[in-house]
Structure formats: C-alpha cells, structure tokens
C-alpha cells in the first residue's frame, strides 16, 4: 500500500528520513517528499527540532558520565577470588 513511488509520506517515514538525513545524503526524491511533508505537517516539523535537542541532550548527558568515577576495589577483590578458584581447578 505504501509504495515508494507515492509522493505522500507517512509521519513515521518522514521522521525516518529526518534521521537518515543526519547520517547520509538523501536522494533527490527523498528530499522532495520530505520537504512537501514537513510543509504540511507541524508535528513532523517540530520533530526536526526535537531530534536535534535529543542529540544535543545525549551529548551533554554523555559528557557528564565521562567525568564520573567508580570505586572498583570491591570488583577487583571479586575478580581475584574468581581467578584463584579457576586456578585451583
């Protein structure tokens, strides 16, 4: 039913193209379809900004995680015990 030849995109397809566009170049037809869809659909138009915000937010959240440190003393003890038991087998 949803043939690729159809000029009208569903919102699901349109948002997929919005994400695809971030990774690879869209074909001419894809660009036209997306442009037409976004002209008519406010929700997908808003999604472009939201998608951008999600990327930036994930970047901020990931940078915060990079600076977090964990105490690994317990884990080291556990690993040594495990290794010793393997060793004795």
């Amino acid at each position: 039913m949803t043939s690729d030849r159809k000029i009208q995109l569903s919102c699901q397809k349109a948002t997929a193209l919005i994400e695809k566009k971030r990774e690879v170049n869209l074909s001419f037809l894809e660009r036209v379809k997306l442009l037409i869809h976004v002209k008519m659909c406010n929700v997908c138009k808003a999604y472009i900004k939201q998608s951008d915000m999600l990327d930036k937010g994930m970047q901020v959240s990931s940078n915060l995680k990079n600076t977090k440190s964990i105490n690994t003393a317990e884990l080291q003890k556990k690993i040594i015990q495990k290794l010793n038991s393997e060793n004795n087998l």
Partner: protein
C-alpha cells in the same frame, strides 16, 4: 602458570578501572559491565600464553573486553525477536502520529539543555532503551564514534543503523514526554 597468575593479579589491580569504565559506557549497566570485566580477566588468564608482549597489556585486555561486549550485543540481538509495534513508537497503523498535540516539554522558554532535570530524565530514558540500541547510542554519543565504525563493530548495515537511531530517538521522545515534569 604461577607466573601467569601473578601477572594477571597485577593487571587486575592496574586495569580494572579503565576496563570497567569502558564497559560501563558501552553497556550503561553496572552489573553487566562488571560481569564483562570479570570475564575479560578470566579469558586473559586462560589465554595468557597467547599474550606476546607485542602490544601493551591494556591494549590486549581492551581487545578481549571489546569482543566480550560485541558477543553480548550479538546474542542480545538474536534473542530480540519481537517485531516493533508502531504504537510503541508513537504512531498508528498508517504511520501517523497518535498524538498530534505539541507536548509542553518542547515549548518552554528556557533551553532544555540548561535544565539539569531534563538531562537527568534523558539519562534515565537512555537507560531504559533495549540493550542493543543503548550500546549503539552510547558508541555514537559517548565514544563519539563515526557511524561507519559503529556499523563495522556491530556488524550492521548503514540503513539498519539509522533505523535503529530513529527508533531509539522516538522512544526517547515518548519517554521524556511521559515522564518529564516541567518545573
């Protein structure tokens, strides 16, 4: 063998930190990351004779850990057979938005990025993603890997990759809209 045990014990002391943080960033789950690090040292112990000293112990251990992460990712991907429901992503049968109203979350004056509670909520939502999506998202944003590298590492095509990112972001959007309380 005794010598190997002594050396591995030293490596546990020296490299647990760096391996765990790597595993943690890739999986986002502490217990899973700890298991993977532990398995890494066990494999290193068993295959100690293969360590030639051409590379540093850290490089060698990191390579073992990477293989463990990828194995985990692949077996998780194999287990995941349920098809994706459109509804879970926020669409109806025809692929139209279920809810066409703009969520108030996106209409605030203050930038979301300046709100610590937004970043916290986003981290929480990222943690709730299916594990293989999470690993790809983490590789992309935390390790800032190029999509080409991610595709190679996880053995997925470029189109699988951006479809995965698409689904992950739709799920994040839903999660935020449902859980984030505007201050």
């Amino acid at each position: 063998l005794e010598q190997a045990a002594i050396q591995i014990n030293q490596w546990v002391a020296d490299y647990t930190d760096v391996l765990l943080s790597r595993a943690l960033y890739r999986t986002n789950q502490l217990d899973l990351a700890e298991d993977l690090v532990q398995e890494t040292f066990i494999t290193a112990f068993k295959k100690h004779h293969q360590f030639k000293g051409n590379s540093s112990p850290k490089t060698w251990l990191t390579r073992i850990l990477n293989n463990k992460i990828i194995d985990h990712y692949r077996s998780a991907a194999r287990k995941k057979t349920e098809p994706f429901s459109k509804v879970a992503l926020g669409f109806d049968e025809n692929g139209s938005w279920l809810d066409r109203n703009m969520n108030a979350l996106w209409e605030q004056k203050e930038s979301l990025l300046d709100q610590p509670s937004f970043i916290t909520a986003l981290s929480h939502c990222m943690n709730n993603l299916p594990s293989q999506w999470k690993m790809v998202i983490t590789a992309k944003f935390l390790e800032k890997k190029k999509s080409k590298e991610i595709c190679q590492e996880y053995n997925i095509t470029t189109s699988n990759y951006w479809q995965l990112v698409h689904r992950a972001k739709l799920q994040l959007k839903n999660c935020l809209e449902n859980n984030y309380e505007i201050e």
